[in-house]
Assembly symmetry: none
Homo-oligomer: 211 residues x 4
């Protein structure tokens, strides 16, 4: 399914991603995108077929896939199950922070749920990723380190919910902690570090605490 896009196509997708993440899909017109990208309006239909399909192309390209990471982790004998989970948590934080714009769109689209192609893509992604997480958790359970009953979707909700929610609250967070003077990069590093520690505490509790 990985398609090679031309420079112009990629530029259109990047611009669209930016604008969709700022104004939403319906709030962004194809003219907006084309103008911002400095490309003729008709190119969107020409390259992607329609505005909807442009969105789908973005989704296909950006959808988060953790399978490879999980496979590596499972094989890695130097790490104990907790370290493996922690490493995956950081992977999530990195990937989502890297793709801030896309994950803002994703958040909205999950609410709106109008485009069946995207709904299906998201469904598949959730199933795929849940299944990977399942394997990783199993691994820790077999070693007797994790508790027996783990509600994976609920756990994932907290993981994804926490990361994406801070994504829409970045500026509030910055102001609250008086971090306005930090550069974008420094602030991001701080955020990621705090998120990482925060989520690890949470996961430790979720995975061990026998309620």
């Amino acid at each position: 399914m990985k398609i090679d896009y031309s420079a112009k196509q990629q530029q259109l997708m990047d611009t669209a991603e930016l604008l969709f993440s700022r104004k939403g899909f319906d709030g962004t017109s194809v003219r907006d995108i084309a103008e911002e990208a400095g490309i003729n309006t008709a190119m969107i239909s020409y390259y992607f077929g329609s505005k909807e399909k442009l969105m789908e192309a973005i989704f296909e390209q950006r959808t988060l896939n953790i399978k490879e990471k999980v496979d590596l982790l499972l094989k890695d004998e130097r790490l104990d199950p907790f370290q493996k989970v922690y490493s995956l948590l950081d992977e999530y934080i990195d990937k989502i922070m890297q793709r801030k714009k896309f994950h803002r769109i994703l958040l909205c689209e999950q609410v709106i749920n109008q485009n069946p192609v995207i709904v299906e893509l998201m469904e598949k992604m959730k199933n795929r990723n849940s299944s990977c997480i399942h394997d990783l958790i199993r691994h820790g359970q077999k070693k007797g380190l994790f508790k027996k009953q783990v509600d994976i979707p609920m756990m994932m909700n907290t993981l994804i919910g926490t990361i994406t929610h801070i994504l829409v609250n970045l500026e509030f967070y910055r102001a609250y902690h008086n971090l306005e003077l930090l550069s974008e990069e420094e602030f991001e590093r701080v955020i990621k570090k705090k998120l990482s520690a925060h989520i690890k505490i949470i996961f430790k509790a979720i995975l061990t605490n026998e309620s």
Copy 2:
């Protein structure tokens, strides 16, 4: 700021809330709302001034306010600090689950961030609520039960992030756990119970663990 709305106005707001939560603000036309509500299209501009202001009215009416609850909790001498926090967590779960539609909209609007009136409303709400939470946490810290450094916005991110994220994943959660046969009410009761236990474990860890 509490305004009394006529029956027709309220009906319009309820219908708008429903449709905004399904199709987004930009994806919903005033015609859609008026038709669904069985009211003349012109009434939206007539009553509220504009589609945007209708949205603002919804936000003003539905915005979550926990001040009263927190004040009650602080005064309540029968509860220890943990019980107080737990009680507030359940309050959040109840309120958000009760206002599912609105919180779906809120989620999108936080991403899109286009309407300054709403941005300000949300800003105020976050500050107000953070301040309340702050008092409650302080209370537990003074009693020596909670750890000294608590990142309140981060903690709130997990709280709100987890609850709202499950809101957009309700059907996935249902399917994952084979709960399709449950009635809407039963399923909601299950969800709330699970959420409650889950979040309490998390908060316990966050509030006590000295990393």
Copy 3:
């Protein structure tokens, strides 16, 4: 099915009829129609739903119906069967010449045949009118004046074909017979008179000649 149209709606239909008859349906834009009628472009969708439905409205209103005329003729005891047929021929000539623009459109639409609503309307009209003609012919056959085998659709093809074909050749006909100096009304009177005599000769032959 007879719908009452407002003055503006009727104006739009008349203008559309004119432009469709000049430039064809696809060759006429809704902007053309609205400008020519001095009405806002959006009104076409507003009043009729779409450009296609505007066309359908024109067809519903203008479709030729001869039932009443034939019923009158059948009852009229002062006329012999030939006179009845001749009277119907003149009715056709009058009606089609009166609605020149519409019948030019009709001609094109029969060729293009893309809109199923219009196809059905035309189908019904043809069946209805064929059936009426059938009754009239029967009447003459019973009186022993018309021959036994009359191919009604073929006869109608000649009738309609001759009238509508002269409709698209009016100017050629005028030039051929050097009638350029005649006023529009005079020319039309001449045409109708010639057509009438011409078609009556044809019908007399068709109805009596035993091949």
Copy 4:
């Protein structure tokens, strides 16, 4: 004016003829034609200059010319004037039935009348053919067999009108006479035979009857 077209050019013209006859000139896009023909879209402008000129090329190639046939008939001493006219009628039937698609287009174009090149081509054709018919009629009049006053354009209207009108009513005619089971070829043979007899009766009447 006879131009030799390459295989690709001819293919493009044939495909265009087919699509124009189905959906009209304006209802057919150059993309439709090129795709249906399996040829690059740009080729239409490249080969013919424009979509309009492609249409003109079709007209130039397909326009009906009866001059040669009439010349042969006039010279043929074995045939009496009636037989000559009848033979020409069959020629018309054959040629038009052979070029059904083109004559459907022609019908529409006569109504729409937008392209001056085509208007002129049609004008010339009509004049040319009228003149030929004139000679043939003269021949019969000199022999005292045809009546003195024959309105040639009116007569031609009936001829062309009848044939082309049945062309757009083929399926109605088929259904009316329950000929659905006939193959395309059989049905066409039947139609041509019926048309021939029908039109001959008409022409006999037109040419002899002194009203």
